[in-house]
Every structure is written in structure tokens, then in C-alpha cells.
């Protein structure tokens, strides 16, 4: 019982996503010209992107906090969030490509949202490269925090202005970011869509927590073995 109390939010996420699998695949969806049944991907594909942005936002908070606390754990938290964000980013690309193949006949199209997603992945891959090119732990943490704050804000600006840059898009709502505008989504899809988003947020946070604990353990082991070396 103690376990359930401690893990209630994880269980909520699991239940939500189990419901999304059932509801997303079996409930009625509106019939649209070229989307047909593939519109169901929205519960999973969009969830990956929302999860990515959410967990990167969590990373941003820890990056900012690191600058004021200089606590190495905050740096590890930010790093773990970025890793999780990258995982979700790759999954989002993958699910998007599969969806595009079935609906549009090609894995890749020059589409603003797609490009935005790729840029997001590039930014955070660059973040990882930056980290790997600095040896000193404190310096690395500082540089990484500064870069990730700078990059996250510009990335959000990018996502918001991207739709303007295109005259053509396979995604709906060229002038804005739909899915975020409540009225845009068909009424019968909302009971699945919103739980799906919450479920994916919880999943991303859970994965982030695990990544964080793993990286703390890795640090501790490194420290211990270093101590041993200096002793011997």
C-alpha cells in the first residue's frame, strides 16, 4: 500500500495511457479527406512533441536554478531532462515520419513544424556536444546552463514564428499552433486527446526521474573510484 501511495502519479499516468490506447484506437473519430483513420496518430505523435517541450521546460527551470545554487545535482537534473527531451524528440520524428508516409506518401516533406522539430533536436544535440567538450565539471555545468537557457527561449520563439515562414504545410493551421487552441480540435477527440497529453507529460517526467537517478549513481561511482585511486 505504501508503494501505491508513493507512486500514485506514475500509476495515474499508466492508467491514462492505457485508456488512451483503447480510446484512441477504438473510439469514433471525424472522417477527413486524406487523414481517414490515421488521424488517431495525433494522440501519440503530438504527445511526443508536447512531452518533449514539457520536459525541456523542466530542464530550463533546473538550468536557471543551477545558476543561482551552483548545485551539481541541478546540473544533472537539467542534463537528464534534456536527454529525456531528446528521446521524445526522436520518437516524435519517428511517429511523424510513419504518419506522413501513410497519409502523404513520403517520409519527409519540407514542412515548417517538421523543420522546427528537427531544429529542436539539433539544439539539444549541440548541447550534448558542448558538454562533452569541457572537462572541468563546474565550468561545463555553467556553460551548459547558460546555453540551454538562451537556446530554449530562442527555440520557443522559433516554434511560434515558424508557421509564418511557410506557404504550405501538411499540418493544420498555418497561421498558428492548433492543438493549443481549444476550439480547433473536434469535440469527439477531446476526451482522449487531453488525457493523452497529461499521460505523456507524466511519462516524460517519470523517465526523467529515472535518468536523473542513474546519472547521480554514475557520478557517485566515479567519485568513489577516484577516491580509491588517490588512496592507492
Amino acid at each position: 500500500m505504501d508503494q501505491v501511495k508513493k507512486n500514485w502519479w506514475k500509476l495515474t499516468g499508466i492508467v491514462l495511457l492505457l485508456y488512451v490506447i483503447v480510446g484512441g484506437l477504438l473510439f469514433d473519430v471525424p472522417q477527413l479527406d486524406n487523414l481517414l483513420q490515421s488521424i488517431r496518430s495525433i494522440y501519440f505523435h503530438v504527445g511526443m512533441w508536447f512531452g518533449m517541450i514539457f520536459i525541456l521546460g523542466v530542464g530550463l527551470v533546473f538550468s536557471i536554478r543551477y545558476l543561482s545554487t551552483s548545485d551539481p545535482k541541478d546540473d544533472l537534473r537539467a542534463l537528464s531532462a534534456v536527454k529525456t527531451g531528446l528521446l521524445f524528440g526522436f520518437l516524435g520524428l519517428l511517429t511523424g515520419m510513419i504518419w506522413a508516409k501513410f497519409t502523404w506518401g513520403a517520409f519527409w516533406l519540407n514542412d515548417p513544424k517538421l523543420n522546427g522539430a528537427v531544429v529542436g533536436v539539433f539544439i539539444y544535440l549541440a548541447y550534448m556536444v558542448l558538454r562533452s567538450s569541457v572537462d572541468d565539471r563546474e565550468k561545463r555545468a555553467k556553460l551548459a546552463a547558460v546555453y540551454s537557457i538562451f537556446a530554449f527561449v530562442l527555440f520557443i520563439v522559433f516554434i511560434m514564428i515558424l508557421p509564418r515562414t511557410a506557404t504550405f504545410s501538411i499540418h493544420p493551421g498555418i497561421e498558428s499552433n492548433p492543438a493549443l487552441v481549444p476550439g480547433d480540435l473536434a469535440a469527439e477527440m477531446r476526451p482522449v486527446f487531453y488525457p493523452a497529453m497529461i499521460g505523456w507529460f507524466i511519462m516524460s517526467y517519470w523517465l526523467y526521474r529515472i535518468m536523473f537517478r542513474v546519472s547521480v549513481l554514475a557520478e557517485m561511482t566515479k567519485e568513489l573510484s577516484e577516491n580509491k585511486k588517490t588512496e592507492g
Binding site: 555553467k142 556553460l143 538562451f150 527561449v153 530562442l154
Partner: protein, 223 residues
């Protein structure tokens, strides 16, 4: 030095950057030569297929590379010893502010040089020159304001052009896409009014980049 610092640190720092550049004329000459030879290579490689949109895209891409190259040295050029010397005399906000202003000026010079070379080699497609020039000014200042902090990070990481490029390119992309759009308007004879929305976004990006740079630079200035 002390007397100068008394007056206004910002202006002194900008002045110092210009002096430094002047003393090291080969570096500036190097960047300009880089610009010219890139344009020439592009001119040969794109022989006969340059229409207006290609012209525009090439122009901004080459400017982006020149900017990355030029701004990269803004922190590397000054060795650690000199940085130590600044610590008691000034503060981080003024240092980054001066660098952004100086890099903007440098980029304006570079972009004008680039434009001349482009027109010389590939013809002059400008139909609305004021719109094009105003946008060029904004775009280059934008490049300078986004890339200056990135160059500070790259310099601290003791790394080279590659790191600067992979850190900076995804960040300048929104700015670049907007400037290329407005630039196209200038090339096809569009009016200021048509560009207003995009110009506002460019201004917004520049101000965000400057504010964030000033806020964040103090954390990485001192070790």
C-alpha cells in the same frame, strides 16, 4: 586606462575593440578575403543558375558563415591574461554590451562589403533598395546579437569553428528565415508596409537575444 574607465566603460570598451581590430588588420582582412573568395567560389559553382531567390539565399548563407567566422574571434582574440585585467576595471554586462555593439558594427561593414562583391559578380537584382538595405542592417545586427553570447560560450569551451557553428546555427535560424523573407521583398520590389510584420519579429528576436546575453554573460565571464 583608469581615466578612460571613469568616463564611460561601455564606450571605452567598444573603442578598445576597434583599436584591437585595427592593430590586427590582417584578421579583418582575412574575414573580408574569406567573404570574397566564398562569393567567388559560389559564383563559379552556381554559374548560370542564379535567379533572384538563389541570389538571396546564397547572400545570407555566405553572410552567416562570415559572421560565424568573424564573431568567433571576439572572445578568443583576447587572451585569459587580458580578461583578468578587465575584472577589477569593469563589469560583465558592459563587456558583453560592448562586444555586441562592436560585432554589430563589424557585421555591418562585412555585409556592405559582401553586397558590393555580390553585385559585382552576380549582378544587381535589388528592386527596392531601401527595404533591402534596412533589412540587411537589421539582419546583420541580429546575427551579431545572437552569435556574440554563443562565441563567448565556444571560447570558454576552448573550441573552434565547429562548436561555434553547431551551437549557433540552430539558434540563428528563426532570425535568418525572417531576414531572408524580408530580403526577398526588397529584391522583388515589395514595400515597407508588406514587411512590417516580419520586421517586428526580427526586432523582437534581437531584443530577446540582447537581454538574455546581458543577463546570462555574467555567469560565464569569470571562472
Amino acid at each position: 586606462m583608469k581615466r578612460f574607465m571613469h568616463k564611460s566603460n561601455l564606450i571605452t570598451l567598444i573603442y578598445k575593440d576597434f583599436r584591437l581590430e585595427w592593430r590586427n588588420k590582417f584578421a579583418l582582412g582575412g574575414v573580408i578575403l574569406y567573404l570574397i573568395s566564398t562569393v567567388f567560389v559560389t559564383y563559379l559553382a552556381f554559374d548560370g543558375v542564379i535567379e533572384m531567390r538563389t541570389w538571396n539565399a546564397l547572400f545570407w548563407l555566405i553572410l552567416l558563415f562570415a559572421a560565424t567566422n568573424a564573431i568567433l574571434k571576439s572572445f578568443i582574440q583576447e587572451g585569459e591574461n587580458r580578461q583578468l585585467f578587465y575584472y577589477p576595471l569593469t563589469n560583465a554586462r558592459e563587456v558583453i554590451g560592448a562586444k555586441i555593439i562592436y560585432n554589430s558594427a563589424l557585421m555591418i561593414v562585412l555585409s556592405l562589403a559582401g553586397l558590393l562583391v555580390f553585385i559585382a559578380f552576380m549582378g544587381n537584382p535589388l528592386q527596392n533598395t531601401p527595404v533591402f538595405l534596412a533589412n540587411m542592417l537589421l539582419g546583420t545586427v541580429g546575427l551579431a546579437s545572437v552569435l556574440t553570447l554563443v562565441s563567448a560560450i565556444a571560447a570558454r569551451a576552448k573550441n573552434n569553428f565547429t562548436l561555434m557553428a553547431i551551437l549557433g546555427f540552430p539558434l540563428v535560424l528563426p532570425l535568418l528565415l525572417m531576414t531572408i523573407r524580408v530580403s526577398e521583398l526588397g529584391l522583388s520590389g515589395g514595400s515597407f508596409a508588406a514587411a512590417a510584420g516580419d520586421v517586428l519579429i526580427i526586432l523582437l528576436i534581437i531584443s530577446i537575444a540582447v537581454v538574455l546575453s546581458v543577463l546570462l554573460f555574467p555567469y560565464i565571464w569569470r571562472e
